[in-house]
């Protein structure tokens, strides 16, 4: 322990009286029936209680944490040098790519190019604001772990002093994160460097201000304001995205030039800085009133997500967020079901979709994606890219299937096989995928690489099938099995399937759309999609290695039992006669 730590530890100790002398050891042993202390009972009133100092408490906590670290930072670097080296290489490639794209973007002088580049900063600012407010709504923004909630927040100290540093950390993170992401994307737009800096700082400031305001609302235990802000920015971001797509496709003409965008950067910067200062101060003033439940719930969620993230189990991360979202919802107006058997399940899925129609709106908006991709001339790549977008748009439509597939308990309650149950749960999304295909088909027929032909018409359906099957794969795949022997990699031991698990869903899109990319018949894609759907529906792909081995063993045992039964009977032998 360093001299500093020792000093802090000494400083952190309040003035306590000397411990009372220990009682003299008792010679005779006490029996369990007469368990009594040898001396008087210890009373807290006999001890001097000092005024608790938040600073000393914080120093003590830091000392505990550092004292219990088993690895130094250098140890960590030497352990993960391969990963770090890879990250440096990838970053170098990204920077090189950005420079190249920036140069080519700056050279594009068409009206559509200029307008799109002018809209991109607005889109990025709206996206950063939407992301920030969404994260604040989910986590807090100020959080505390369960242990901190029990030990620290229960202490007789001013809560705002303990949480003060935490708030500033989140505000600073929002500022730097928002500015960095915004700058990274804006560098692609070919804007002047100072304009990029202006917009990036403006977006960062806006994010910091939103964090501060959300902290104020957290302290007041209100959600209405946060919801309104979130809805506002979602609408702004969506409208800007649609405008950008429309301009790129040549459907819309907006009088925007780079001079306007650079001037607007100053205004956004002013709003951002004002928002950051005002929001952060508002959050700081009200921080003392924040409730423990609100702090700890965000901390719990964060630790759950951390656990899922370490296992690279994105489906589990989504489960946690979905669960949290519905917990916030709390109550619903119950609706009576219809029909019986599997029809009842389909009917219930329709009612659930009516309950949260946002999923349908997102699916509807995604229709514009293939049109935009086709209009910018991506041709045969469109099914793959649009299918990929469709996977992530359709995943929320398979929430029930996810629940039934992640644990067996609920599936056991239904009197049907896994195939029948999965069929019922995929019927509604299937119908929606067909509707999606019908709506995107005109785009493929009119704008695609095979205009006015049957291949163009089929491409829309193949894209929809790719997205549909990919989403089923994403929700039904098992997480990596950590009970199996690990595979040695440069980044340490990994369970088999961990890396492949990251690409679940995407793999189906690639397999189904590959024939279209290389110019084969769409019928091959349809056949692959149907086979993949049937396999996924049966749940066979969800078996882990252990279950497969057990099934294999069981089959062998049954075969052996049949053989032993037949060995008791007279064998029928057949001898081939030689001619």
């Amino acid at each position: 322990m360093s001299a500093n730590s020792k000093r802090r530890r000494r400083q952190s100790k309040p003035n306590r009286p000397q411990n009372p002398p220990l009682p003299e050891p008792v010679e005779e042993e006490l029996s369990s029936s007469e368990w009594e202390p040898a001396g008087d009972f210890a009373d807290v009133e006999d001890y001097e209680v000092a005024q608790t100092d938040e600073r000393q408490l914080r120093l003590l906590m830091r000392d505990w944490r550092r004292g219990r670290a088993t690895r130094s930072l250098w140890d960590m670097v030497t352990d993960s040098y391969v990963a770090l080296f890879s990250v440096v290489m990838i970053l170098a490639m990204v920077v090189s790519g950005i420079m190249s794209i920036q140069q080519s973007s700056a050279g594009c002088g068409t009206e559509a190019c200029t307008t799109s580049r002018g809209l991109l900063p607005w889109l990025m600012t709206a996206a950063v604001a939407t992301t920030t407010v969404s994260l604040c709504r989910i986590f807090g923004p100020v959080t505390a772990s369960a242990a901190e909630g029990f030990w620290l927040l229960d202490a007789p100290i001013r809560r705002s002093r303990v949480l003060n540093r935490r708030l500033w950390t989140v505000v600073a993170l929002a500022f730097t994160g928002g500015a960095a992401v915004s700058a990274l994307v804006l560098l692609l737009s070919g804007l002047a460097w100072y304009a990029v800096v202006l917009w990036a700082l403006g977006a960062g400031g806006l994010a910091a201000g939103i964090v501060g305001l959300c902290a104020q609302e957290q302290a007041a235990d209100r959600m209405v304001f946060v919801r309104v802000v979130q809805s506002f920015w979602i609408i702004v971001a969506t409208a800007t995205l649609l405008a950008m797509i429309a301009v790129s496709a040549g459907w819309l003409n907006l009088p925007l030039d780079l001079a306007h965008t650079e001037f607007a950067g100053w205004i956004v910067l002013g709003i951002g800085i004002t928002g950051a200062v005002g929001g952060a101060l508002a959050g700081r003033i009200h921080l003392g009133g924040v409730g423990r439940a609100r702090l700890v719930s965000g901390g719990d969620l964060l630790s759950g997500l951390q656990g899922a993230a370490f296992a690279l189990d994105f489906a589990l991360m989504r489960d946690i967020l979905v669960e949290r979202r519905w917990m916030e919802h709390g109550n619903v107006t119950p609706e009576r079901g219809r029909a019986v058997g599997t029809a009842a399940i389909v009917s219930r899925e329709i009612r659930k979709l009516r309950r949260s129609p946002g999923r349908l709106v997102t699916l509807g908006l995604s229709i514009i994606v293939p049109y935009a991709l086709l209009s910018i001339g991506l041709g045969n790549l469109t099914p793959a890219l649009a299918g990929l977008v469709l996977v992530f748009v359709m995943i929320p439509l398979f929430d029930s299937m996810r629940v039934v597939n992640r644990t067996k308990g609920l599936a056991r309650c239904f009197p049907m096989s896994a195939s029948e149950l999965n069929t019922a749960l995929t019927t509604l999304p299937g119908a929606l995928a067909i509707g999606w295909a019908l709506l995107v088909t005109p785009g493929f027929v009119l704008l695609g690489s095979h205009p006015m032909g049957p291949i163009g018409a089929a491409q829309g359906f193949v894209t929809a099938m790719a997205g549909y099957v990919g989403a089923i794969r994403w929700v039904s795949a098992r997480p990596a099995d950590y009970s199996m022997p690990m595979v040695a990699t440069g980044m340490g031991a990994m369970p088999p399937g961990l890396m492949f698990n990251m690409f679940r869903g995407i793999d189906m899109v690639a397999i189904i759309t590959l024939p279209l990319i290389i110019g084969w018949s769409p019928l091959i894609s349809v056949a692959i999609a149907v086979i993949a759907y049937l396999v996924l529906r049966s749940g066979q792909l969800n078996l882990n290695a252990e279950e497969l081995m057990e099934r294999n063993l069981e089959a062998r045992q049954e075969l052996a039992a049949l053989r032993s039964q037949s060995s008791g009977k007279q064998k029928i032998t057949y001898t081939r006669t030689r001619r």
Partner: protein, 278 residues
């Protein structure tokens, strides 16, 4: 075969849980109203004699069930026969293999060797007939996060073929005392309420065998009392029950036969009385 369409009881004051508007949940089940005579023990005279029992249909037949994890034998040569209207309580210390046996019975775990048959068919979790006949309450039960309490029960009843399950759902909800929570989503329920919902999912559907792992867990005293009476009532209608339990009052209230795991006599069915076994 039992009719899947439930004949609703004639309840004098019945309210609906569906649709908007204020809910008027006032009816309480006398069985759970107070616990003065909560733990009513089924007298020995009420129980069927061995001859009567032998005439009944065999619902569950377990032959020489063994389960090993690596070299560690958890269950060794376990045999059990359960007939319609009979209840079996598996008891024993923590780690004696009660839950393992139950998980093998419902097909959640595959036994290392041995055979489990339900109504003459090999037990298989994926078999639709098995899922129709057997209701299970073990720890892996999950709920849809966006379906309310009452909607879960409605969905399960309809999935099992009930054309108009409203009355039954109402009554079960009242029994498990989840009427005020009928519109709540599962994520907002307390652990005890989730347990009650799990029990309700088993009661709201037709079944011939009920398998439960410590059903008394997280239930209050009144809840355990109600559960004992409710299960005893189900047994009179021919339901076979196998459960693991540490609650002597529940086992006594049901008049269940006790199979004690972890003893040397484990390979044979134990027929000890509850007072001796628990």
């Amino acid at each position: 075969m039992t009719s899947l369409i439930h004949q609703p009881h004639a309840a004098a004051s019945r309210t609906r849980q569906f649709g908007p508007g204020p809910r008027r949940w006032s009816r309480t089940d006398p069985a759970t109203d107070g616990c003065e005579d909560a733990f009513e023990v089924r007298p020995a005279g009420d129980r069927d004699t061995m001859e009567d029992m032998a005439k009944r249909e065999k619902v569950l037949q377990v032959s020489d069930l063994t389960k090993k994890y690596g070299d560690h034998v958890v269950v060794d040569g376990f045999n059990l026969t359960v007939r319609a209207g009979e209840a079996i309580a598996l008891t024993g210390r923590n780690g004696s293999g009660k839950s393992t046996v139950l998980r093998c019975l419902i097909g959640a775990d595959r036994p290392t060797s041995g055979r489990v048959e339900v109504l003459g068919r090999k037990a298989s979790e994926t078999d639709p007939q098995f899922r129709t006949d057997v209701a299970t309450i073990v720890d892996d039960l999950d709920f849809f996060p966006d379906l309310s309490v009452v909607e879960h029960l409605d969905l399960l009843a309809r999935a099992h073929g009930m054309v108009d399950p409203d009355d039954l759902v109402d009554e079960i909800l009242a029994e498990v005392q989840l009427v005020p929570q009928s519109g709540q989503l599962p994520g907002t329920l307390s652990s005890g309420q989730r347990r009650r919902l799990a029990l309700a999912t088993a009661l709201v559907r037709p079944k011939k065998l009920l398998i439960m792992d410590e059903p008394e867990q997280r239930l209050d005293v009144e809840g355990v009392s109600w559960l004992g009476k409710r299960l005893a009532h189900e047994m009179t209608k021919g339901l076979a029950i196998v459960m693991a339990s540490h609650e002597p009052r529940l086992v006594k209230a049901m008049g269940a036969r006790i199979v004690r795991l972890g003893d040397e006599s484990e390979t044979n069915e134990s027929l000890v009385e509850p007072e001796q076994a628990l």
